[in-house]
C-alpha cells in the first residue's frame, strides 16, 4: 500500500515507467490515462488496447456443495455452466438490491472462480463468508492474482501465438514460460477481447509480453478513463454508479442474467414481484444533441420541464462525438425517442432516450 493509503497493483512500476496519469479509484491508485483517453478509446475500437485490471478481486470457491450454495447467492444459473465456461451474474441483498455484479467461471466441476469489483472485494467476501453453508471452501485470492484486459478487434490475432483461444465467455489455462495464466474471452468494452489472470509476482513480465505481442497492431496501454467511455458506449453498468443496493437487476435491465426459474436465491422474491408487476423505473441510455456540454454523473434530467431523474453515469462519447449517459427513468419516459433535457451548470441541453447499447461492434 502506498503512503496515500491507496492500494497499488503489481503493475504500478510499469505505469510509472509509461508516465501514466494516476488517480484514486475504489481505494486503488490506478492509471486514468497514458497517452490520452480518446486515443486509447480509439485504439480499443479499431485495433487493440491493454488495461491493468489487477485491482479487481478474485474469489475461489471449492467443495461438493459449491454449486448449490453459490446458486443460492447469485442470480444467474451456475448449473448451466460447462467446465471452462463463465457467466455474468449478480449478488443481491434480501431486498433484491445489487451488492455486486461479477463473472463466475467453472474451472472444474466443483471449483469456481469469481471476478468481483475492486471496491467490493471485502464486502463480497464477508457476505459470502457470512452465508456459508455446507461443504464449501472460500478463498479470497485477490492478493495472489494480477490481471489485465486485452481488448479490441485485433486481440485474437495478438494471442494467436499462444495456442487455441477460448470462445466467448470461456476460460482456459495457458503456460507462458514458467507462468500459469488463465485467459478468459470476456471484457467491459463492447469489443472482442480477453481478460488474463496470473500470479502478481509475474505481472510485469506478462504485461510486457502482451505489449510485445501487440506491437504489430500498435497496442496501447489504456487507463480507467477509456475503460469508462468504452463501457458506457456499450451500456455496461458500473457498480457504485449505475448499480446500487437500492436498485434491482430488473430495474437495471439485467433480467437476462437472473434465472427466476431457480428454486430460491437471495433476493428472488422482490424480483419475482417486479417481473410480474413490472418495474417503476428502468435504467435508460441517453444521448445528448451535438455540441452539448458533456454530461456527468448526478446531472439533473428533465422531461416536460420537470426534473425526473439524475444521471448515474455520463461522459462525452468518443465514438459518437456527443454526450451520453445512463439514468433511471420512470416507465412513462423509459422508451426510445423520449425527449429529455440534461442540466449542465444551470443550462439545459436537449437529449433523447436511445435503445441500448449506444455502441455495438460491427459484425
Amino acid at each position: 500500500m502506498a503512503s496515500s493509503g491507496l492500494h497499488r497493483t503489481a503493475l504500478y512500476p510499469e505505469h510509472v515507467k509509461l508516465n501514466a496519469k494516476m488517480v484514486p479509484f475504489g481505494g486503488w491508485e490506478m492509471p486514468v490515462y497514458y497517452s490520452g483517453i480518446v486515443n486509447e478509446h480509439q485504439a480499443v475500437r479499431n485495433a487493440v488496447g491493454i488495461f491493468d485490471i489487477s485491482h479487481m478481486g478474485e474469489i475461489e470457491v471449492f467443495g461438493p456443495e459449491a454449486e448449490r450454495w453459490l446458486n443460492g447467492l447469485l442470480t444467474n444459473n451456475l448449473s448451466k455452466l460447462a467446465v471452462g465456461e463463465g457467466q455474468y451474474t449478480l449478488m443481491l441483498n434480501n431486498e433484491g438490491g445489487v451488492i455486486d455484479d461479477l463473472i463466475v467461471y467453472r474451472l472444474e466441476h466443483n471449483h469456481y472462480f469469481l471476478v468481483v469489483n475492486a471496491a467490493k472485494i471485502e464486502e463480497d467476501f464477508l457476505w459470502l463468508s457470512g452465508h456459508r453453508a455446507g461443504e464449501v471452501t472460500l478463498l479470497n485470492r485477490s492478493d495472489h492474482f494480477a490481471a489485465v484486459a486485452v481488448q479490441g478487434p485485433k486481440s485474437s490475432e495478438l494471442f494467436r501465438p499462444i495456442g487455441e483461444l477460448p470462445e466467448r465467455n470461456r476460460i482456459r489455462a495457458y503456460r507462458l514460460g514458467a507462468t500459469q495464466v488463465l485467459i478468459a474471452r470476456t471484457g467491459y468494452t463492447g469489443e472482442d477481447g480477453f481478460e488474463a489472470f496470473f500470479p502478481a509476482d509475474s505481472a510485469s513480465a506478462v504485461w510486457n509480453q502482451f505489449l510485445e505481442l501487440g506491437q504489430p497492431w500498435q497496442i496501447l496501454p489504456c487507463g480507467l478513463g477509456a475503460r469508462d467511455t468504452l463501457r458506457l458506449e456499450a451500456c455496461y453498468p458500473l457498480n457504485g454508479a449505475d448499480l446500487s443496493p437500492e436498485r434491482t437487476p430488473m430495474e437495471a435491465g439485467l433480467g437476462f442474467f437472473v434465472d427466476l426459474a431457480k428454486n430460491d436465491f437471495m433476493g428472488r422474491e422482490p424480483l419475482l414481484k417486479q417481473k410480474t408487476n413490472g418495474v417503476e423505473e428502468r435504467l435508460c441510455a441517453i444521448r445528448l444533441a451535438p455540441k452539448s456540454a458533456p454530461p456527468r454523473a448526478h446531472y439533473p434530467v428533465y422531461a416536460e420541464n420537470q426534473q425526473i431523474a439524475e444521471l448515474t453515469s455520463g461522459s462525452q462519447s468518443p465514438t459518437l462525438g456527443t454526450g451520453i449517459g445512463l439514468a433511471y427513468l420512470g416507465s412513462k419516459y423509459a422508451k426510445p425517442g423520449q425527449q429529455l433535457e440534461i442540466e449542465v451548470r444551470g443550462r439545459r441541453f436537449p437529449a433523447t432516450v436511445e435503445k441500448k447499447p449506444l455502441y455495438k461492434r460491427p459484425c
Binding site: I37, V38, H41, A293, Q316
Partner: protein, 126 residues
C-alpha cells in the same frame, strides 16, 4: 512545453496577452496537455464583469470539467466563437487559435501579481 516570452501567467495555468487596455486570455500548453482531449468550452457572456481570480470559463475534457479563472479583472469584450465548433483548438494551438476570451482590463496593477515565463516554468517544474 511551450511558454511564450511575451505573456504573463497565473498560478492556475491561464495566460494573458496585453494589447493596450485589452487582455487576451487562454490556458497554457501545460494545462491543455494535463487536461488532454478538450471536447467542450464554455466561454463567459460578453459584457460580464469579472474580478481577478473569478471563475470565467469551463473547459471540459472527456473525463472532467475544469474551471478557468480570470487572470486579471475586467469586462468581457470578445469571446472565441470558433471553440463552439472546434474545442480541440485549445489543445492544438493554446496560445493562438485556442484563445478563450478578451477582457477590457479594470486595473493594470493586477499584472504585478502574475508570473513571468521563468517563474511559471519553475512552477510547473521545467
Amino acid at each position: 512545453m511551450l511558454i511564450p516570452d511575451d505573456l504573463k501567467y497565473a498560478d492556475t495555468h491561464e495566460w494573458i496577452r496585453l494589447d493596450g487596455g485589452v487582455g487576451t486570455v487562454g490556458i497554457t500548453d501545460h494545462a491543455q496537455a494535463e487536461l488532454t482531449d478538450i471536447v467542450y468550452v464554455e466561454v463567459p457572456a460578453i459584457g460580464a464583469k469579472l474580478e481577478q481570480k473569478q471563475t470565467a470559463a469551463v473547459v471540459e475534457s472527456v473525463k472532467a470539467a475544469s474551471d478557468i479563472y480570470a487572470p486579471m479583472g475586467g469586462e468581457v469584450v470578445e469571446v472565441n466563437k470558433e471553440l463552439e465548433a472546434n474545442p480541440a483548438l485549445v489543445n492544438t494551438d493554446p496560445y493562438g487559435a485556442g484563445w478563450l476570451f478578451k477582457l477590457k482590463l479594470s486595473n493594470q496593477e493586477e499584472l504585478t501579481g502574475l508570473k513571468d515565463p521563468n517563474a511559471y516554468r519553475a512552477q510547473i517544474g521545467e
